[in-house]
C-alpha cells in the first residue's frame, strides 16, 4: 500500500509541478491558466467523446511503445518506430484496398498480419543482421531506416504505385469491410473502435506474457542484461538480437495497421505523427513494463487530445501543449527528487521548530 502510494505520488506531484510552471508561463503570456488547464482536462476526459478520442489517440502510442519496450528489455534502442509504423501502414492499406471479396474478418486479419510482418522486417532485418554480425549501432540503423521508410511511404503515394488515380497524393480507401467498426456511433461520437482497443490490450498482455512468462522472453531479457552470461547459458545472442528488433518492429507495424484500419482508412500525405518518438518516452516512463506502457500511453493520448481541445477553447497556440508535455515529462523523469525535497523540507521544519523551542 505504502509502495503503491509512493509510486503514484511521484508522477502526480511531478505533473502538478509542471503545471504550475506551465501556468506561470501561460499567465505571463496573458492567458488564464485555469481556463487553459480546464480545457486540457475536459478535452481529454470531459465527456464520452473526449474519452473516446483519448483512447483512440493512445492506441498507436501504446502499440509502438510496447515494441520499443521489448527492444529496451533486450538491451536495444529502437529509435526508428516511426518508419516501421509508416511502412507497415502503407502495406496494410495496400492489402486493404487491393484484395476484394475476402470476408471482412479474414481481410482484417490479413491486413494486420501483413502490417506486422512488414514492420518486423523493416525494423528487424537490416538493423538486426548488421547489429548481430557487424556490430553496427542499432540506434543509427533504425533511425536511418526510419527516414527511408517515411520517404518510401511518401513516394508510394506521390507518383508511386499506390497513388489513387486523380490529382491528390493519397492512396485509395481500404475496402469498407476492413474498416474497423466505430464503437456506438451515437453514444460516443469518436473514432473509437472496440476491436482496436481489444487488439491493444491483447498486445500488451501478449508482450507481458512473452517477456516474463516464456523462455523466449527470458532469453531476450538475459541477452539484454548480460550478453556474456547469456552466451554462457547457451543462448544464441545474435539470433535473439535479431528477434528482439523484429519483435519491436512488429509491434510498431501493428500500430500502423491498426491505425489505418481503425482511423485513417487510407495513406494520407503528411506523415507527421511522430508516434515513434513519443513512444520512446512512453516506454521509458513505463520502465519498459507492458502494463505501464498501457498507462503511459493513455496519459500521452490524454495530453494530445486535451491539447487539441485546449487550443479550441482557450485559443492558446498549439505549441503550448508541447511546452507542457515537455515539462511534465521532465518532472516525471525527475520524480525521484520529490521525496528528497520532502525530506529536506521536513528537516528544515524540524530544525526551525528545534530552534524555536530552544
Amino acid at each position: 500500500m505504502k509502495a503503491l502510494r509512493s509510486t503514484i505520488l511521484g508522477p502526480v506531484v511531478a505533473t502538478l509541478l509542471a503545471m504550475v510552471i506551465g501556468g506561470i508561463l501561460v499567465s505571463a503570456m496573458g492567458y488564464n491558466p485555469f481556463v487553459v488547464y480546464g480545457s486540457l482536462v475536459s478535452g481529454a476526459f470531459g465527456n464520452a467523446i473526449s474519452v473516446g478520442n483519448t483512447i483512440t489517440a493512445s492506441i498507436p502510442l501504446i502499440l509502438c511503445g510496447l515494441g520499443i519496450a521489448i527492444a529496451f528489455q533486450s538491451g536495444l534502442f529502437n529509435i526508428g518506430a516511426d518508419g516501421q509504423y509508416w511502412v507497415s501502414a502503407a502495406a496494410s492499406v495496400w492489402v486493404g484496398y487491393h484484395f476484394t471479396g475476402l470476408p471482412g474478418w479474414l481481410h482484417i486479419i490479413f491486413c494486420l498480419v501483413v502490417g506486422m510482418l512488414v514492420g518486423a522486417i523493416w525494423g528487424g532485418i537490416i538493423p538486426g543482421l548488421t547489429k548481430a554480425y557487424v556490430g553496427s549501432s542499432e540506434v543509427i540503423t533504425t533511425m536511418m531506416l526510419s527516414y527511408i521508410g517515411i520517404l518510401l511511404a511518401r513516394y508510394l503515394i506521390e507518383g508511386g504505385p499506390m497513388q489513387q488515380k486523380g490529382f491528390n497524393p493519397e492512396s485509395p480507401q481500404i475496402a469498407q469491410n476492413t474498416q474497423l467498426p466505430y464503437f456506438n456511433q451515437t453514444l460516443m461520437q469518436s473514432q473509437l473502435s472496440l476491436v482496436a482497443v481489444a487488439i491493444t490490450i491483447l498486445a500488451a498482455v501478449a508482450a507481458w506474457f512473452l517477456l516474463y512468462k516464456t523462455t523466449m522472453g527470458y532469453q531476450l531479457r538475459a541477452v539484454g542484461f548480460n550478453q556474456r552470461a547469456a552466451r554462457y547459458a547457451g543462448m544464441r545472442v545474435t539470433l535473439f538480437t535479431i528477434i528482439a528488433l523484429c519483435l519491436s518492429g512488429l509491434f510498431a507495424g501493428l500500430a500502423g495497421a491498426v491505425q489505418m484500419l481503425g482511423v485513417d482508412h487510407q495513406l494520407l500525405d503528411g506523415f507527421s505523427s511522430n508516434y515513434g518518438y513519443t513512444a520512446i518516452v512512453v516506454a521509458l516512463l513505463a520502465r519498459n513494463n507492458p502494463f505501464g506502457v498501457l498507462l503511459a500511453g493513455l496519459f500521452f493520448g490524454a495530453l494530445t487530445t486535451g491539447g487539441q481541445n485546449m487550443q479550441i477553447v482557450s485559443n492558446v497556440p498549439a505549441a503550448l501543449t508541447d511546452v507542457l508535455q515537455g515539462l511534465i515529462i521532465f518532472f516525471v523523469a525527475c520524480e525521484r527528487i520529490i521525496p528528497q525535497i520532502i525530506q529536506w523540507y521536513r528537516r528544515r521544519r524540524s530544525l526551525h521548530s528545534s530552534v524555536a523551542a530552544s
Binding site: 503570456m29 534502442f77 529509435i79 537490416i126 548488421t130 557487424v134 556490430g135 553496427s136 549501432s137 540506434v139 543509427i140 540503423t141 533511425m143 536511418m144 531506416l145 527516414y147 527511408i148 520517404l151 518510401l152 511518401r154 513516394y155 506521390e158 507518383g159 508511386g160 518518438y277 520512446i280 518516452v281 521509458l284 516512463l285 497556440p317 498549439a318 505549441a319 503550448l320 501543449t321 508541447d322 511546452v323 507542457l324 508535455q325 515537455g326 515539462l327 515529462i329 521532465f330 516525471v332 523523469a333 525527475c334 525521484r336 527528487i337
Partner: protein, 306 residues
C-alpha cells in the same frame, strides 16, 4: 557526370556539415563523461530561436550568438541537473527537452513575432573568405564566402580532439565516462566533470542551431532543425565518440545530402533520391565502421551511496 568537379557540391557539403558536426561533437563531450545526450535537437532549436531573437532585439548578430550560447548552456544545465543530480532517465530527459524546446520556440515565435515569423531586418553573422586560400583555384572556391561558423567549426574539431585526448582535464573527463566510481576513488569530482561535459555539449549544440538561424539565414521557423539533432546523434555514434569521427560522419552526411540535391531533376522521384544520405550511412556504417562501443558508463547515473 562532372558533378564532383563543381566545387559547389563540396562547399554545400561543408556548410551542411556544420549543424551536424557541432552538435555531434557536443554530444561526444557529453557522452564521454557518461551522460547520454539525445537533447541536441532541442538545444539546437533553442539556440536557433534565441540567436535570431536577440540578434533582432539588439541589432547585433554577435550578441545573438552569445545569447544562443547562454540559452543553450542554461537548457543543457537543466538537462544536466536532471541527469546528474536526480539520476533521471537520460533518454527521457533528453526527449523532454526536445519536446519542450520545439514547443517553446514555436510558442514564442507566435506570441512574440506573430505568424509572419522573425523580421527580415534581423542581422546575420558574416560570411568570410580566407585571404590566400581563396586564390587557390578549386579549393579556394570551396572556402570562399562561407559563414564564419564554418571556420569556427574546423577550429572546434581540432580543439576538441586536443582537449579530449591530450589534456589532463580531457583524460579525467574520459575516465568519468568509463568508470565514475574509479574516477571518484582517485579524487576526481565526477559530478563537476559530468556537468561540464553536458554543458559543453549544450554550447556546441546551440552553436549548431545558431548557425542555422543566423549563420546561413537570418530567420527562424518552427522546427527548423528538422531532425538534425538526431542525425547528429547518429554522427556521434558513427564517429565512435571522437571529434574527428563525428566531423567525418557529418561530412559524409552533408555530402550525400548535397549529392541528393545535385542528382535531382533527372526524372527520379525526389523521395527516392533523398534516401541517399540515410542509405549511404547504413552502408558506410556496416561496411567501414562496424562496431562502435560507447564509453562504458555512458547513460549510467553515478550516485555514490555515501
Amino acid at each position: 557526370m562532372n558533378i564532383f568537379a563543381d566545387p559547389q557540391i563540396w562547399a554545400s557539403t561543408l556548410s551542411m556539415a556544420v549543424p551536424l558536426a557541432l552538435p555531434a561533437i557536443g554530444g561526444t563531450f557529453s557522452e564521454r563523461t557518461g551522460v547520454v545526450n539525445v537533447a541536441m535537437e532541442g538545444i539546437m532549436l533553442m539556440g536557433a530561436f534565441f540567436g535570431v531573437a536577440f540578434a533582432y532585439w539588439t541589432g547585433s548578430a554577435w550578441i545573438g550568438l552569445l545569447m544562443a550560447l547562454v540559452i543553450g548552456g542554461l537548457t543543457s544545465a537543466a538537462f544536466a541537473w536532471g541527469a546528474i543530480r536526480v539520476s533521471a532517465d537520460q533518454v527521457v530527459l533528453g526527449m523532454a527537452i526536445n519536446i519542450f524546446a520545439g514547443g517553446i520556440t514555436a510558442f514564442l515565435l507566435d506570441t512574440v513575432f506573430g505568424f509572419n515569423g522573425t523580421p527580415v531586418s534581423t542581422p546575420k553573422l558574416p560570411n568570410v573568405s580566407i585571404p590566400g586560400i581563396d586564390k587557390i583555384p578549386y579549393i579556394g572556391e570551396i572556402f570562399t564566402n562561407q559563414s564564419i561558423l564554418v571556420y569556427v567549426m574546423i577550429l572546434i574539431v581540432i580543439l576538441s580532439h586536443w582537449f579530449l585526448f591530450h589534456t589532463r582535464l580531457g583524460l579525467r573527463m574520459r575516465s568519468v565516462g568509463e568508470n565514475p566510481l574509479a574516477a571518484d576513488t582517485v579524487g576526481i569530482n565526477v559530478w563537476r566533470l559530468r556537468y561540464s561535459g553536458v554543458i559543453i555539449g549544450g554550447l556546441l549544440s546551440a552553436l549548431g542551431g545558431a548557425y542555422l538561424s543566423i549563420g546561413v539565414l537570418n530567420s527562424f521557423s518552427v522546427n527548423m532543425t528538422n531532425g538534425r539533432g538526431y542525425i547528429a546523434l547518429a554522427a556521434m555514434i558513427f564517429g565512435k565518440w571522437t571529434p574527428f569521427g563525428a566531423f567525418g560522419a557529418a561530412l559524409l552526411f552533408g555530402f550525400s545530402t548535397a549529392l541528393g540535391i545535385v542528382l535531382q531533376g533527372h526524372g527520379v522521384s525526389s523521395n527516392l533520391l533523398q534516401m541517399i544520405p540515410y542509405g549511404l550511412t547504413i552502408l558506410a556504417l556496416t561496411g567501414l565502421v562496424g562496431r562502435s562501443t560507447p564509453p562504458a558508463a555512458d547513460g549510467l547515473p553515478y550516485e555514490p551511496k555515501r
